[in-house]
Symmetry: C2
Subunit: 422 residues, 2 copies
């Protein structure tokens, strides 16, 4: 049986899945979604040349010699239109964002002035024309595309959407995801503790991984090792866009998932990937055969390992990129950082290995240390991890100090120390 | 007027705020929250020595010479208890996670065997004792603290919580946050377009920044430049744990926020920080004076700049760390990466400058390029940014190729290319 390279398996997945259809969403609920339409500017912004500072609108030619005393002829608040033209020896008091009056060509900030009696002000500094003036249309010009289709909606993008008053916009819809655990040995959350059983952690770890992508999955529960029961559950799961099945996909004689899933019409694309942890990993497609108007979309099945760490790592490498692709996101893969290895690591060559690591920072950058035993049964190694360190398949290991690539896991968008020089 | 260093301003904030009280949350809703209690193991896991593979439980001493043919005496599924003792020349078929039978001391995976007729199997490889056996209690021992108070609940942590069947747990509560924009020049989302006005983007950009931390803020709207109206709005805002006010806090004569907020009993801790963008930035505390049993918690006010980029940068550097501290999170600051500067950058010395950059990756690591004009009025520079590049206050700039620190912004937890070697 062939063991695929990770990139080959990902290519097969990406060739099968498509970006989903679109739906409208309110601005208030749009964070993290991906735009399915271009967003156009609805005005010039700023609509005029405006002041970039609180201060005084001046003629720069009046300030060739400073200090210079100028007469204040008007008081222009943000939101006001100026009424008077600034002439030689004059200025207008102006607020940030207020339109520049006729005659003026620069702004002096209030900190560079001294207030004098009788509506006059002393200007301390000389400036060039356009100083602290934001030109008309600097931010955006009416009708221009300000944010393109395919952009992930971040807080900065939401600021732009609010600027063009897009209260509602089209985004790609989220996939509907179902999660199923399989195996007689599993104990459900509400079952009493039985030392002969293993608590079902995969349902909840996968739930959280799906939630972290902004999707609320359906938890189907646990299917026992019985072909009829399994078929019922798998049938239900295939009504979703994506079904995640953990356990039951290896070659043991009690594993019914593969034959049952194929019986239901799913075409399996692969069963093995050359990675550790992550054995076995399967991917299949149930192609829609309906010819009616309301065609159901294709369903995709990921068969994940029963081991909790293996299941989580496979999710990160294959399921998360697939779900993000379906939501239209161009960024599919976990953010990577370069780190130095804190200790030597030995591996068996021939498959890519993911070591769970904690990251610390020193003057030379990131340092990666194993979170402890790397047995795929030990979920604590995952719970304590900041990232997955990638050990390439060639070679038998790396020495302490070697440069390694680490994929950052959820929870690492923030760090303990600010770690920059002021 | 003193301009504080960023770290000094942060220290003042951290000295004022406290971690909030706790509340129970269901496992299904716990992602991203911070544990306010230690979580204990409720059993030994695994409860016995178990198989790490699908294969055969053997006596390693039977395999000193291989291939060796063994009699299969039993079939042990996960969830079953073994009934027979493995003696010389015998083995039991065993599934991953099933208890090791008496007599056996190692597991041979099915791939290293050949099936023979009449309930016998040929074993191809020799193994040491304990090979592919996961010892009792390897994952956790009954009564041990498996996840400590103060841990952020990531998907891996949720896997552990499910393992010990913690369906509900105590977490630190989220702060209640209110957002207020100020200024006559602002146009609300539902107002008709008026070229003399500026659309209120700060309300929504701040909303999204707060949402990205898992908090749903209250949007109070826009207070006009009128002391009475402003007082009404500020009074309402101070009923929340944290009030974010953007605009109206500079030294212009029309800025009423400072006197009004002080009139309402808020003690202002600082007004100026030596950073760009970010001018002016204020922080104040309304200390609870009630002596009754049900004391309201203190309220904290951040006065943010009216400029949209400045407001967002100040949120990242001061408000986000404060909100995360209130939620009990030990990780307060944006994740940083080291990058090379793609082009020279000039700055004015004396204040820390944050340049909005896009990040690309090549063989030598991250490359940072400015997103365009760094005017604090140009929100597109923020919408396009992957991160904030930090320019230290000393010096007048950096040459192309210089090593810089970049804080990663929301949307960057994933990247375009997988960027590791298999």
């Amino acid at each position: 049986m062939e063991h695929l390279k990770i990139s080959s398996a990902q290519r097969i997945i990406f060739e099968s899945i498509k970006v989903l259809d679109t739906e409208p969403v309110l601005l208030e609920h749009s964070l993290g979604r991906v735009l399915a339409e271009d967003i156009l500017a609805n005005r010039d912004l700023p609509p005029y040349d405006v002041s970039a500072m609180d201060g005084f609108a001046v003629r720069s030619c009046d300030l060739t010699a400073t200090p210079a005393t100028l007469e204040i002829i008007e008081d222009i608040k943000a939101g006001d239109m100026p009424g008077k033209t600034v002439r030689a020896g004059q200025c207008s008091r102006i607020m940030t964002g207020a339109p520049l009056p006729q005659g003026a060509d620069a702004v002096i900030r209030v900190e560079d002035t001294l207030a004098l009696p009788a509506d006059t002000v002393q200007i301390i500094v000389s400036v060039k024309t356009r100083h602290d003036v934001r030109p008309k249309g600097e931010n955006m010009r009416n009708g221009d595309v300000v944010i393109g289709k395919g952009t992930e909606i971040t807080p900065g993008v939401i600021g732009i959407l609010a600027t063009v008053k897009a209260a509602k916009m089209q985004v790609y819809r989220r996939p509907r995801v179902a999660i199923l655990s399989t195996g007689n040995e599993l104990e459900a959350m509400n079952d009493p503790v039985d030392p002969n059983k293993i608590p079902d952690s995969n349902t909840y770890a996968l739930m959280a991984q799906v939630q972290a992508l902004g999707i609320q999955p359906a938890l189907l529960g646990i299917a026992r090792d019985d072909p009829a029961e399994l078929e019922q559950y798998l049938k239900l799961g295939l009504e979703y866009d994506v079904l995640l099945v953990s356990g039951g996909t290896s070659v043991g004689v009690h594993d019914y998932v593969r034959p049952t899933i194929e019986k239901l019409g799913v075409s399996m694309k692969f069963w093995r990937v050359a990675m550790k942890p992550g054995h076995p990993l399967a991917f299949g497609v149930l192609q829609c055969t309906t010819t009616h108007a309301n065609t159901a979309p294709d369903a995709f099945v990921f068969g994940l390992p029963g081991n909790p760490v293996s299941s989580m790592v496979c999710f990160e490498e294959f399921v998360a990129p697939a779900l993000r692709r379906m939501m239209g996101n161009p960024r599919l893969f976990r953010r990577t950082v370069t780190a130095r290895l804190a200790h030597p690591v030995k591996i068996r060559p021939g498959r890519t290995e993911f070591i769970r690591v904690q990251l610390t920072q020193d003057d030379a950058g990131y340092l990666a240390s194993s979170t402890g035993t790397q047995s795929s049964g030990v979920l604590l190694s995952m719970a304590r991890a900041d990232g997955l360190m990638v050990m390439p398949a060639e070679g038998t290991g790396l020495a302490a100090g070697a440069q390694v690539t680490v994929q950052l896991l959820d929870g690492t968008a923030f760090q303990n120390d600010i770690n920059f020089r002021e």
